[in-house]
Structure formats: structure tokens, C-alpha cells
């Protein structure tokens, strides 16, 4: 039960960081707090025995922070507008109350933390990947074997989504450059 205590403390830290990121009026502080949440999440992945995920999460978090700060803040720090939208707040409270009721019933019917489904269902695909992964694919890292051999089609889909997102971002920003040059002529 040692891991669960550490995870609880870390999750409380993440929730406090997320609340700071949401409520701060200063945009730069908000983005830095989001970075703290991301790095705390990487530590949580290490506790949960997922070293592959921790490496990916840290690298992606650094790049995301650089993009956010570089693109939207620059030299000056922009404050957020301080208006509170009362109707939205009431709606979100009602929605959260409804979600909490459903979540209480849902989490009550889930298995306890620490006993995954693969321990009960012997014919699950994960058991097959763990038992035969090294022999069939030759790779010691079972997560890489799943990503690039057993479920490689999903990795192709992910490469396509990344490609489309990057081209979309380039198309949105290239239009700006061309319109500026057109106006200056």
C-alpha cells in the first residue's frame, strides 16, 4: 500500500496546481503552473511502473511549454479578463453534481486500485502479449512490441493525425504571412 499513499499526495499536488493554473489572472503564471502539473504527471507515471510513458511525457511537456510561451506571451505578460460568468458557473455546478453522482456509482462498481482485469481474465490479449511478446517479436520492451508490431496500424493512424495537425497549423499560420505581404504591396 505504499504506492497508493504517494500517489494520493501527488494527485493532491496536481489538483492544487491545476486550480492555480485555472484561477490565476496572469497568463504566464498559469502556463507555468500547467507545466508543473505535467511534470508531476510524469512522476506519477514513474510510480505506476510506466517508464516509457514518463520519458514521452517529460519531452512532450517541455515542447508544449515552449510553444505556449513563445506563441502567446512573448515579451509582455497578458492578464486575463476578470469577469465571472455567473450563469456558466451555476451550470457547471449542476453538471458537476450530476457527474459526481454517476461517478460515485461507477467507481463503486470498479475493481479496487491495484488489481487489474488481466489478473482475472486469462484470455485477455495483454496476457498473450506478455507471454509471447519476446518470442514472437524479439523485442524486450513489450510496449514497443505492441506499438510497432501487434498494433502497428494504430501507430500509422497516430502518425497520420500528427501529420494532419501539423499541416493544419502550418496552413493557418501561412495564410497570415501571405495576407500581410499582400497588404503591404
Amino acid at each position: 500500500m505504499g504506492i497508493e499513499v504517494y500517489l494520493l499526495i501527488l494527485l493532491v499536488f496536481l489538483i492544487v496546481g491545476a486550480l492555480v493554473a485555472v484561477e490565476t489572472r496572469n497568463l504566464l503564471s498559469s502556463v507555468i503552473s500547467l507545466g508543473a502539473v505535467g511534470f508531476g504527471l510524469s512522476i506519477a507515471f514513474l510510480f505506476l511502473r510506466a517508464p516509457d510513458l514518463a520519458i514521452v511525457k517529460i519531452a512532450v511537456e517541455v515542447v508544449l511549454l515552449i510553444f505556449l510561451i513563445r506563441a502567446t506571451i512573448g515579451r509582455d505578460v497578458i492578464p486575463g479578463t476578470g469577469h465571472i460568468h455567473w450563469a456558466g458557473l451555476v451550470i457547471i455546478c449542476l453538471l458537476s453534481a450530476g457527474l459526481f453522482v454517476f461517478a460515485y456509482h461507477a467507481f463503486g462498481s470498479m475493481k479496487a486500485f491495484g488489481s487489474p482485469i488481466i489478473a482475472d481474465v486469462q484470455s485477455a490479449p495483454s496476457n498473450k502479449y506478455l507471454a509471447e511478446g519476446l518470442g514472437q517479436t524479439g523485442s524486450a520492451n513489450i510496449v514497443t512490441a505492441i506499438l510497432l508490431d501487434y498494433r502497428a496500424y494504430d501507430t500509422l493512424g497516430e502518425a497520420t493525425v500528427l501529420f494532419a495537425a501539423i499541416i493544419g497549423a502550418l496552413a493557418v499560420l501561412r495564410g497570415t504571412a501571405r495576407s500581410k505581404r499582400g497588404k503591404q504591396k
Binding site: 502567446t72 515579451r75 520492451n141 510496449v143 514497443t144 510497432l148 508490431d149 501539423i166 499560420l173 497570415t176
Partner: protein, 160 residues
């Protein structure tokens, strides 16, 4: 985009090679330990982003221009598809690990597990080129305080 002070430039000159090497290490040993194509590709992109931030955009675009990054990105995606189609051709299954089935090597070594290291390299190159392209085009815009007190976006230079 201007670079930074001389301290940052000196440290960058020494450190960027190690970051690049670490990214390559994580990609290549993806099938032996944690890591893989995605993590290594993002780390390689970070080394080029560090170069751009410290030295300015002109210097970095002489090292790796936008055109080269576009071509590298597309070439890596097509390499990944080519591996899949070769698998279809020789194994009968899309994405089958045809190299492992034909020439099974000894486990836990660097040259093992068939097409998995090649796929890792393709994915790593693709992710690195994509993120570097996005950073190059996002770094053109900055929010500055103009002369009349309002904030506006300035574009640092003309984009080709």
C-alpha cells in the same frame, strides 16, 4: 528572431550535441529499454529548438532549413508506409514483422526484432521534423507593446 546572450550561446554550443546524441540513443534502443520513436523524436526536435532559441532563426535555418524539414517529414512517413507494404508483400499481413520471421536474430541485442528498429527510426525522424517546422513558423509571431500603448502581434520577418 534574435539570439540570446553569449553565455547561452556558449553553453548551447557544448550541450546541443549531447541532447542530439541522447535522442538518437533513445530511438535506437527503443526495443531494449524504455523509449522508442516518439520520445526520441521529441528530444531531437528539442535540440534544434534550443539551437533556434539561442542563435536566432537565420543561423538555425542554415543548419536545417524549412524545405529540408518538409522533405524529411514526408520521407519518414513514406518509409513507415513502405515497411508496412513490404510486410503485406512478403508475409501476407499488413505490417507483419517480415524481417523477424525470416531472419530471427538473438534477443536483447541491438540488431534484433526485425522491422521494429527501422520503424522507430522512421517515426522519430517524422516527429522531430514536424515539431521543428511548427516551432519555426510559430516563432515568427510575438506579442509586443506598440508605440500607442496597445498590444499587437508583430511579424519579425517575411515568411517565404
Amino acid at each position: 528572431m534574435k539570439g540570446m546572450t553569449v553565455i547561452v550561446k556558449t553553453v548551447t554550443r557544448w550541450v546541443k550535441v549531447f541532447i542530439f546524441l541522447y535522442g538518437i540513443y533513445i530511438i535506437v534502443t527503443g526495443h531494449l529499454g524504455p523509449g522508442g520513436g516518439f520520445a526520441g523524436g521529441v528530444i531531437i526536435a528539442c535540440s534544434y529548438i534550443l539551437l533556434t532559441l539561442a542563435y536566432g532563426k537565420d543561423f538555425a535555418s542554415r543548419r536545417l532549413s524549412s524545405q529540408t524539414a518538409h522533405r524529411l517529414d514526408s520521407a519518414a512517413a513514406m518509409l513507415f508506409l513502405a515497411i508496412a507494404l513490404f510486410g503485406l508483400g512478403s508475409g501476407g499481413i499488413f505490417f507483419s514483422n517480415f524481417l523477424q520471421k525470416r531472419y530471427p536474430m538473438e534477443e536483447f541485442t541491438l540488431f534484433s526484432s526485425g522491422t521494429i528498429p527501422i520503424s522507430n527510426i522512421a517515426i522519430g525522424l517524422k516527429v522531430a521534423a514536424s515539431l521543428f517546422l511548427i516551432f519555426t513558423i510559430l516563432s515568427v509571431f510575438r506579442i509586443v507593446l506598440a508605440a500607442d500603448g496597445k498590444r499587437k502581434f508583430v511579424q519579425e520577418e517575411e515568411e517565404e
